[in-house]
Symmetry: C2
Subunit: 424 residues, 2 copies
């Protein structure tokens, strides 16, 4: 196959006719496939559903003398704190164990900064004229939506293979209106990038003009390898503390993709001073989170080693799905020179950069042929990809056979959109 | 026994010496008893713990075609909406089913009013100069803390036997800075008062100056009778709609005292316009609440009739505890004329008004003798009881035998504090 850019106009016209025909054929199949969100598949859900069998008798609901079924322990069961501290490589005293959704813990952290201010805030953020926020892009659309919802000005920061462009970050934080930054430091969403040690060092040693700069550290994929062994990763809390920034980071994680997305446990990790501050605010908001579910997770996951074994079983289900996507792209698209994509070793996404100006069109074509994808531009602040190029592929939900059909359709749509663009 | 006020000084001195001796005897027992919070007792927790056995096979996790284990359905499982709509006598379209804590739903409703504004707000409340809030008192301390935490000015409204003093409420809402009001309309916390039909009519037909007046309707004890049959109660949503106030109320309830405080399900009910507005905001905050727990409740509680049967079993445990408290007060305190108390037919509290100026002292004495009670003044805005008279008794947690010991101590402390006061 010849790269499209090297084809003659005539060759491209011929190819366009051929690809159009393929597209119509695929469309005629009337499929309904979904690669939109990072949802685990049914096989993964069934695999962990024995988590619901851990309680057998009333005594099982006790943990460190606490009856998990009653009110109390607003910051979570001690045993759950120990489990997550081991997984995140921090101290149990640095942990709050929450409800089923880490997104809610993140939203609430920012919401409380707005309504009450953070530990080092001169005033609640609602009393500031403008709040600016750093968004490494492409990034997680739900992160960007949270800060957009509070009316912050979102500032895109380019992603490099080592993480956010730190020159840009170090420049931006000299503005005292810049109050924080989103991060998915391990297997970033959507590119699967692991922040390098140097990036983490530069982040931990930032000297922001804002005294209450909030480093949002969403360690969503902290133990979510797709292949190979667990990759150790620095603890951001102690890294920041080294540089006098102990209270700057707030870390988040959850078991949404360890046990169950609809019924997992979330966790917040921060300095002890922050934990004390957040606990005071949290005590007004809730008497306690679902401690029975916390204990269920403690009894099921046991410890880090046992949890990593479970993650290997998830990887055994997910690995082939990711390979199906990347293999198809290698085979169908690579020779044509119309897109680049990541080969993630963990996380839940493949990030693809199509020919600039063709992402929206590609996804419209996918939809026409029955494949739902994350909306074009979603990985950028305000949903606007300046290049109209980035496409997020979420291979986790469909069974492999459906996935192969979906990716076949995506490949044809990429080709069709590229040929249309080159003909224009 | 002679009422203390009718005793001669000599008689009172004799009585004081006697009561002091009793107090020292009780103190010497070194007890540690708790009547501080409305926590269900172990018997109640064990009684409902078969809720954790409802799932047997993977298909059980499906509900209306939705896999409860995965992401999705931000407003809750349809089946859970139907269950709570039946219990609250409203429509499933008027329901959002949340996490384990209705307090969190309440906090979030007010927090979003502050950060984003409500459906009819001219601007977010954070941009208002002052927010005033009506607090029927005595009331629920955690309610008052939420509005205090956001810096609102709390305005006490006297409680009558029919609910809040509506003359005072109708007067207060003419101030556009008055943005809302707390309510526990059935078996109010702590007095166990049921709002009368006339009170509800006057509330539903309020014409507040604020266009975004928020009627917080915490129906915490909606089906929580302590004796006798279920008492039907008007649906505040349709009542308000009758008077053109469809978007004014937001109702809350939970299964914290139906199933488990630490692992129940919460619910928000409001007009369909409000539900749509809140859903948009909620979609930024969370992908979905714990739907497995929602489905667990649907399968366990089944429907309203079946849920009411369960509540009768709770009443069979709680009734004797409440009678133990009230009987002891009738026997030990009534003849002395030093306090009045409620005889609740539902809810979780007995409210006692001691001789003015003796509540704090009584509770300090209780603590000295090993009985922890809710702090004096807790039922009033800013924790300040102007009369220093109100004491909230929570009889639900201790087993009857412990409760009898605790109430014996309370009675002696009430007498001691009264005698000290009368001697002063």
């Amino acid at each position: 196959m010849t790269p499209y850019s090297e084809m003659s106009r005539e060759e491209r016209e011929k190819e366009l006719a051929l690809v159009k025909e393929q597209f119509e054929e695929l469309k005629a199949r009337g499929l309904s496939l979904n690669m939109a969100r990072g949802k685990p598949g049914k096989l993964q859900l069934d695999m962990v559903s024995d988590i619901f069998n851990v309680f057998q008798k009333p005594e099982d609901f006790l943990s460190d003398g606490v009856d998990s079924r009653n009110y109390g322990e607003v910051t979570g069961l001690p045993a759950a704190k120990r489990l997550f501290a081991e997984i995140l490589d921090c101290k149990p005293e640095q942990i709050i164990v929450g409800g089923n959704a880490s997104l809610q813990l993140m939203y609430d952290t920012i919401s409380k900064a707005v309504t009450h201010g953070l530990l080092h805030s001169p005033r609640p953020w609602s009393q500031e004229k403008e709040i600016k926020w750093l968004c490494p892009s492409p990034g997680y659309d739900r992160h960007f939506k949270v800060t957009e919802s509070f009316g912050f000005t979102l500032i895109p920061i380019p992603m490099t293979e080592e993480g956010p462009d730190m020159d840009a970050v170090e420049q931006a934080i000299q503005d005292p209106a810049v109050k924080g930054m989103w991060n998915v430091p391990k297997y970033s969403n959507p590119q699967g990038i692991i922040y390098s040690e140097e990036t983490i060092r530069r982040i931990a040693s930032l000297k922001p003009a804002a005294p209450d700069f909030l480093l949002m550290w969403d360690n969503a994929y902290c133990i979510h390898e797709l292949e190979g062994e667990y990759v150790p990763f620095p603890d951001i809390l102690s890294e920041c503390a080294k540089y006098g920034n102990a209270d700057m980071p707030v870390e988040f994680a959850s078991t949404s993709k360890i046990t169950l997305p609809g019924a997992g446990v979330s966790v917040l990790a921060a300095s002890e001073a922050n934990i004390q501050y957040f606990t005071e605010l949290l005590s007004v908001q809730i008497i306690s989170f679902d401690k029975v579910n916390q204990l269920r997770h403690v009894l099921y996951l046991k410890d880090k080693a046992h949890t990593l074994e479970l993650m290997q079983r998830h990887a055994a289900v997910l690995g082939p799905k990711f390979r199906a996507v990347v293999d198809a792209l290698d085979r169908e698209i690579a020779p044509l020179g119309i897109a680049k994509w990541t080969r993630p070793k963990g996380g839940y996404f493949v990030s693809l950069d199509a020919l600039p100006g063709t992402a929206k069109r590609t996804l419209a074509l996918c939809k026409e042929a029955g494949v739902t994808m994350t909306g074009a531009g979603a990985a950028f602040p305000y949903g606007k990809d300046p290049q109209d190029s980035n496409i997020r592929i979420a291979p986790s939900l469909p069974p492999v056979q459906e996935l192969e059909q979906a990716i076949e359709i995506l490949c044809v749509c990429l080709r069709l959109a590229a040929l249309e663009k080159l003909a224009a």
